[in-house]
C-alpha cells in the first residue's frame, strides 16, 4: 500500500527525527485521518490493508484420484476404529481391518493417515492398510514420502522393478514370484550382480515362495556370494528344496558319520569343518553349551533331508554323542520341512527339541492341537505352547483353553495364557460363557480377558 513504508520508517526513526508524512497515503485514509497522528494513521492504514486483502492466484490444485470407494460401516464401527487409533485396544486394529474388508466395508478416509503412520513401522499391517486405502493409496503415497509403502497397491508393469523404490521393487518381485516363479527368478538374475548386499539378501528371502528345483542352480551360485549373510540365506533355501544336490551332499556327510545297526545309532563325530562344508553354510564356531564336534554334527543333521532317516530311528539308543544332539537336529529339520509325521513322533517321544515344541505343534494338523496340548501341558508351559500357534485358533482349541481359564480362579499364573487367548480366540467363540461370569476388581487378568473378548465381539457385531 502506498505510504505505509513511509509510516514504518518514521516510526522506526522516531517522529522527532523524521516527522510522519501522510500525503502518500491513499486519499480515503487521509480523509478519515483529519489531524490524527502517526499511530492514528497507522491504525487506519492497517485496517485498510487488512480489508483490502485479495485471494492468492495461480495455484494448481492437486490432481484428483480416480475410482470408487467402498461403502462405510455404521458410525459405531467407525468410532471403534477411531478409539483404537488413539491407543485403546490397538492390537485389534488388524482384526477390524480384516473383518471390514471381508464384509465389503471401506475405511473412513480421515483415518488413513493415522493407519499409515501405524503401519509404517509394522510391516504386517501394511497390506491391510494398502487395501483399506483403496484408490487413495497411491495418491497419499505420492504426497507423503513416509507412506511410500502405500504404493504396494500398484504392481503392474515392469517400471516398478526397473525404476521403482525398494518397496515397489519388493512388491513387484513378490507378486511376480507368485504368478510366474521362473520369470521372477530370471528378473532377479539380471540385476543380481549390481545389487548391494542388503538388497540381494532381501530379494533372496522372497524366493521362499514357490521354491523348486528350478532355483537350485541360482542358489548354488549364491553359496559363493561375497556376503556371508547371503551365503547363509542361500544355504537355508537349498536345505528347503526337496531333492536338491545340496540335500544329497548333506545326507552323504551325515551317513559318513553314523551307522545304524542292531537297534543302536553309532555316531562318529566329525573332526573338522572342510571348506566344502563351510560353503554349504556349516558354522565352525560352536554355540554356548555344546561341544565343537557335536555342534558341527548337529548342523549337518539339521540341514540334511529327513528322508536320510527312518521315523523309527527316534526310538533307538545313541552312542558316540548325546541323543539330544540328534533330537534337536531332527526337530529343526522337521520344522524346516514342515513334516507333521516327524513333528508328531518327536512330540510323542518327548524328544529334546531345542525350544521348538510350539513350532512342532504348529506343523500338526489343527484338529490334533487339542489332544497334543493335553499331552504336553504337564511338561511345557501351556502359554509357550499355544503362543506360537497361528491366530485365530480353531474353535475347539479356543473353547478348551477358555474352559481351563474359567476354572483357573484368580491364579496369577494364568495371566500370560489369558492375554494370549484374549487375542487368539476366533470370532465364533467370543461369546464363551467366561464372558458372562462376574469378575471382581482384583481379578486383573480375568477382567482384561473378558474386556478384550467383549471388545472383539462388539467389533464383529458392528461390522456385520
Amino acid at each position: 500500500m502506498r505510504g505505509w513504508d513511509g509510516l514504518v520508517s518514521s516510526a522506526l526513526l522516531g517522529t522527532e527525527r523524521r516527522p510522519a508524512r501522510f500525503d502518500d497515503l491513499p486519499p480515503a485514509i487521509q480523509e478519515q485521518l483529519g489531524d490524527g497522528n502517526l499511530l492514528d494513521a497507522a491504525a487506519l492504514a492497517t485496517l485498510y490493508k487488512r480489508a483490502g486483502r485479495t485471494p492468492l492466484e495461480g495455484l494448481t490444485p492437486l490432481p484428483s484420484t480416480h475410482g470408487e470407494d467402498q461403502p462405510l460401516p455404521r458410525p459405531a464401527a467407525i468410532r471403534r476404529l477411531a478409539a483404537m487409533l488413539t491407543g485403546f485396544q490397538t492390537t485389534a486394529l488388524g482384526e477390524w481391518l480384516r473383518a471390514a474388508d471381508a464384509k465389503g466395508w471401506g475405511v473412513p478416509p480421515e483415518h488413513l493417515p493415522a493407519l499409515a503412520d501405524y503401519a509404517r513401522g509394522r510391516a504386517e499391517y501394511r497390506p491391510l492398510v494398502v487395501k483399506a486405502a483403496g484408490r487413495r493409496a497411491s495418491w497419499l503415497a505420492d504426497l507423503n514420502p513416509d507412506w511410500r509403502f502405500l504404493h504396494e497397491a500398484v504392481v503392474e508393469g515392469n517400471d516398478h522393478w526397473t525404476h521403482g523404490n525398494s518397496t515397489q521393487r519388493r512388491s513387484w518381485l513378490r507378486a511376480r514370484r507368485q504368478a510366474d516363479p521362473a520369470a521372477a527368478l530370471e528378473a532377479l538374475r539380471e540385476v543380481w550382480p549390481t545389487e548391494p548386499a542388503p538388497a540381494r539378501l532381501d530379494f533372496l528371502g522372497l524366493l521362499t515362495e514357490n521354491l523348486s528345483a528350478a532355483d537350485e542352480e541360482f542358489l548354488e551360485q549364491a553359496l559363493d556370494d561375497r556376503s556371508k549373510e547371503v551365503r547363509r540365506a542361500a544355504a537355508g533355501l537349498l536345505a528347503r528344496s526337496p531333492g536338491s544336490q545340496y540335500g544329497e551332499r548333506m545326507a552323504q556327510r551325515v551317513r559318513s558319520h553314523l551307522i545304524v545297526s542292531q537297534g543302536v545309532i553309532a555316531v562318529d563325530l566329525p573332526t573338522e569343518v572342510t571348506p566344502a562344508m563351510e560353503r554349504d553354510g556349516i558354522d565352525p564356531q560352536p554355540q554356548d553349551g555344546i561341544g565343537k564336534r557335536a555342534w558341527w554334527f548337529r548342523q549337518l543333521v539339521a540341514a540334511a533331508p529327513l528322508s536320510t532317516f527312518e521315523l523309527d530311528d527316534l526310538q533307538l539308543d545313541v552312542e558316540g554323542c548325546s541323543p539330544e544332539v540328534l533330537q534337536v537336529a531332527w526337530s529343526q529339520a522337521a520344522v524346516r520341512e514342515g513334516s507333521a509325521e516327524w513333528a508328531r513322533a518327536l512330540l510323542l517321544a518327548n524328544a529334546r527339541t531345542g525350544g521348538r515344541v510350539a513350532e512342532l505343534l504348529r506343523i500338526l494338523p489343527p484338529d490334533e492341537w487339542v489332544p497334543a496340548v493335553e499331552l504336553l501341558r504337564t511338561r511345557v508351559d501351556i502359554a509357550d505352547l499355544v503362543g506360537g500357534l497361528p491366530v485365530p485358533w480353531p474353535p475347539g482349541l479356543a473353547t478348551s483353553i477358555l474352559d481351563q481359564l474359567a476354572k483357573a480362579g484368580t491364579a496369577r499364573t494364568a495371566a500370560r495364557l489369558a492375554s494370549i487367548a484374549a487375542r487368539a480366540v476366533p470370532a465364533e467363540v467370543l461369546d464363551h460363557p467366561i464372558t458372562r461370569e462376574p469378575t471382581g476388581e482384583e481379578d486383573t487378568w480375568r477382567r482384561r480377558l473378558v474386556e478384550t473378548l467383549n471388545f472383539r465381539r462388539e467389533l464383529y457385531e458392528e461390522l456385520s
Partner: protein, 437 residues
C-alpha cells in the same frame, strides 16, 4: 422499606464526576417507565444510543444493575434514580417485567452464594465491597490506559529502531503492568506485539500494526461516552472487562434457531484450556462463538452437539459491535444435518472484511468454504475455489486427514480464518461431517 436521603445517595457515588452527572440526570423528564416497589427502583433513561438504558436498584444492599456501558459502580443512572426516590419523585407501581426478572435472578444467585458461604465459613458476600472493587478497577484501568498512551507516544516520537534489542523485555514489562492495571485484554495485545519483534524481515511493519491497534483501543477508551454504546462494549471487552453470565442471559440479544456446529478449536495451555465452538444459524444465518474454559487439568464441559450437527437452541449474545460471543441454552436434542452451503474465496474474504468494519480488532472469523480443492502453496497448503482463487492454510496445520478425505476432489471445509491463514476444523466427506483433530 429502606429509603435514602440525598446525602446518603451522593456518598455512594464512586467519584465526584459521577455525583455531578447523577444530579443532572435526576429529573423526571429524562426517565420513562419509572417506578418503585418494596424491594426495588427501576426506570428507563435515554442515553446517547437508540435504546434507553435499563436501570434497576435493589433496595437490599443496595445493588445496582444498568445496561449502560459505564463501569463505574453505581453508575450515574442508578444514582439518579435513587436521588429521585429520595425526593419522593418515584411512584409506587407494579414491577416492570425486565426489572423483576433481574431481581429474581439475583435473588436465586444470592441463595446459591449463601449456600456456598455456608460451606465456606468466613467468606461472607459483601455487595458494597464488590462495588468498591469495581470502582477501584475502573480507576486503575483508566490510569493504565493513560500510561499506555504516553508510552506509545514516546515510542513513536523516539523511534522503534532499537526495539530489536530492548523491545521484548520492555513490552513484557508493559504487559505485566497492564495486568496490574486490571486490563488483561490489552496486556494480551501487548504480548502479541512483543512476539512480533525481530521475527522476519517485516517485523517493524508488523509491530507498527499491532501497536496502532493497541493505540486504537486506548483512544476509544478515552472516548467511551462518545462512541456508539455497542462499540463501547466491544472496547470494554477488548480491554478485558467481562460481562457477567447472568447479565448476558438476562439482557443479551436472544436468537432462536437450529444452530449448525461448524467446528471447534481447542487450545490447551498449562493454566487454561480454551475451546472455541463456532455456530451458524440455519435459518437466520447468524454466526456465533461459544467460548469454554477449563482450568489446568480439568475437563471442558461436554459439547452441546458434535461438529456438523444441528443444535436447536436460544443464544444470548454478549454485547458488542460485532455480536459473536454468546451463551447457549439448548432447547431440544441435537439433530444430524446435511453438508452445509459455503462461500468461495472472494466471498469469504468479503465476509471477514465486513466483520473488521464492525470490530477492527477482530482476529478470528468462522468461514465455510464450498467446493475448494487442496493445492501446494510453497511449503504450505492452500484451498483453491472453482474460479481459481485461493486462501492459504495456516502454516503448521496438519492437513493429512483433510487431504485423505478430499483425494483431490472439491470439498466443503469449515474453519477459522485469521490474517495468517485458514485453520480447518471440519470437512465433509459427501454429507458426512469429519471432525479434524
Amino acid at each position: 422499606m429502606a429509603g435514602w436521603d440525598v446525602e446518603q445517595v451522593l456518598a455512594m457515588a464512586p467519584d465526584a464526576a459521577s455525583a455531578k452527572a447523577a444530579q443532572g440526570l435526576a429529573r423526571p423528564q429524562r426517565w420513562s417507565e419509572i417506578g418503585s416497589s418494596e424491594r426495588a427502583l427501576w426506570g428507563l433513561c435515554q442515553g446517547s444510543g437508540k435504546k434507553p438504558y435499563q436501570t434497576v436498584v435493589d433496595r437490599s444492599g443496595p445493588a445496582f444493575r444498568c445496561s449502560c456501558p459505564s463501569r463505574k459502580f453505581p453508575c450515574k443512572h442508578a444514582l439518579a434514580l435513587m436521588l429521585l426516590a429520595a425526593v419522593g419523585q418515584v411512584p409506587e407501581r407494579a414491577e416492570a417485567e425486565w426489572a423483576s426478572s433481574w431481581l429474581e435472578d439475583r435473588a436465586s444467585r444470592a441463595e446459591k452464594s449463601a449456600e456456598k458461604a455456608e460451606r465456606k465459613p468466613g467468606e461472607v458476600a459483601d455487595p458494597l465491597a464488590a462495588q468498591q472493587r469495581v470502582t477501584r478497577r475502573a480507576d486503575r484501568v483508566s490510569a493504565g490506559m493513560a500510561e499506555l498512551q504516553s508510552w506509545l507516544d514516546d515510542q513513536v516520537r523516539r523511534g522503534l529502531g532499537g526495539f530489536e534489542q530492548r523491545g521484548y523485555g520492555e513490552l513484557s514489562r508493559l504487559a505485566a503492568r497492564m495486568v496490574d492495571a486490571q486490563a488483561p485484554g490489552v496486556a494480551g495485545a501487548v504480548r502479541r506485539a512483543a512476539a512480533v519483534v525481530g521475527r522476519g524481515h517485516g517485523w517493524p511493519g508488523e509491530l507498527l500494526e499491532e501497536l496502532s491497534l493497541i493505540h486504537l483501543i486506548v483512544s476509544a477508551h478515552a472516548r467511551l461516552g462518545e462512541i456508539p454504546p455497542r462499540l463501547a462494549d466491544t472496547v470494554q471487552s477488548r480491554i478485558g472487562w467481562t460481562v457477567e453470565t447472568a447479565r448476558v442471559l438476562a439482557e443479551g440479544e436472544k436468537v432462536e434457531d437450529d444452530w449448525l456446529v461448524l467446528g471447534r478449536v481447542i487450545e490447551p495451555d498449562d493454566h487454561l484450556t480454551v475451546r472455541r465452538l463456532w455456530l451458524r444459524g440455519s435459518s437466520t444465518g447468524r454466526l456465533a462463538l461459544i467460548l469454554n474454559f477449563a482450568a489446568g487439568g480439568r475437563q471442558l464441559d461436554p459439547l452441546p452437539a458434535r461438529p456438523g450437527e444441528l443444535v436447536p437452541a436460544v443464544l444470548s449474545y454478549y454485547p458488542g459491535a460485532l455480536p459473536m460471543r454468546a451463551l447457549l441454552t439448548q432447547t431440544a436434542h441435537r439433530l444430524p444435518a446435511p453438508r452445509p452451503g459455503g462461500l468461495n474465496a472472494k466471498q469469504a474474504l468479503a465476509s471477514y472484511v465486513e466483520s473488521l468494519a464492525a470490530d477492527p480488532w477482530n482476529e478470528r472469523w468462522p468461514l465455510v468454504l464450498a467446493d475448494v480443492r487442496p493445492a501446494r502453496n510453497g511449503d504450505q497448503w492452500a484451498f483453491v475455489d472453482s474460479a481459481g482463487d485461493a486462501l492459504e492454510v495456516l502454516p503448521g496445520v496438519d492437513l493429512w486427514q483433510l487431504l485423505a478425505v478430499s483425494a483431490g476432489d472439491p470439498i466443503t471445509v469449515a474453519g477459522e480464518w485469521n490474517r495468517a491463514g485458514f485453520k480447518p476444523m471440519t470437512c465433509w466427506h459427501g454429507d458426512r461431517p469429519v471432525v479434524l483433530s
